[in-house]
Symmetry: C2
Subunit: 150 residues, 2 copies
DNA sequence: ATGTTTGCAAATAGTTTGCATCCAG
DNA sequence: CTGGATGCAAACTATTTGCAAACAT
């Protein structure tokens, strides 16, 4: 499509490097399973749940467990290697793409789509907030009905 | 504190009117339970879960059920009488305050605080989004650690 | 060598569903 | 009257926990 062609081995090599670096920085051990989990996540633009990733990975690692997938994803998210998105009540959805962008969620089919940040790049963190809290992230979530559901 | 004194009977009468009007417009039946649910929600600045509200209301309506509280809240949210906020994986949190504002969520204690919209009032909906989707709402969620947890 | 991670299983939490009864409009 | 709402219980889905064995550093 456009310059952001996924699945290119070069992209993946880059991402893997970045991933390894971040893990080491954060004291997270790098295991084949974790690499597979991260690969599955970062190759997907679909904001998979832990179960989604678990299902996909089972073909490659037949005896990985959902618990492992879940705890790995949580460990990543805790250290900022990935992020968690979506709306409350939904299962957790993970996102490997750390470039700032927004999301659109269909209230009917619950699908989440990436939305590039248009103008408003700089919503940024109100000073009052920074004074009182340690602000580590920001998410903008649009909700409504997607083309298929409306 | 300041002009937004909660719990004032006048505030509540206003809100109740508004609530009744909206319910009628939307074809939702008004029952004592629903009024109690909405009252509990709109009097609270704490973004309660269904269970929170259920627990509180039981003193007044000892045989209301969690299912009823939940389905009422969902019915309200579906029709825009209230909104659902929070992050995925968390239990749903409800919010009766429809004035546009943002939220801060502590990733440790999961508490959610209202954040007034500072400057950036106008993030508003990218045209491309509007073209493709039916956008019904927008949420800005800051995440990090609150004063108590950091 | 050592402390983290894995895999498994069980426990917990939260949400949703089905159905008979009831009540607001 | 009638369709939506209630209350109860059971089913489901997702997440978390505990522990012994395996492995990355």
């Amino acid at each position: 499509m456009n310059k952001k062609t996924n699945n290119s081995p070069i992209d993946w090599a880059d991402k893997l490097n970045e991933f390894n670096k971040r893990c080491r920085q954060q004291g997270l051990k790098i295991t084949p399973q974790r690499i597979a989990i991260y690969k599955e996540l970062s190759m997907s633009r679909k904001h998979p749940t832990a179960t989604d990733i678990y299902t996909k990975i089972r073909s490659e690692y037949p005896n990985i467990s959902l618990g492992t997938v879940n705890s790995s994803l949580l460990a990543f998210a805790e250290r900022g290697v990935i992020i968690i998105i979506g709306a409350s009540g939904d299962p957790k959805r993970f996102e490997g793409n750390l470039d700032p962008h927004d999301h659109f969620r269909c209230i009917e089919c619950h699908k989440i789509t990436d939305i590039p940040q248009n103008k408003h790049k700089k919503i940024d963190i109100p000073k009052k907030l920074k004074a009182k809290y340690l602000v580590m992230g920001k998410q903008v979530l649009f909700e409504g009905k997607c083309d298929k559901c409306r």
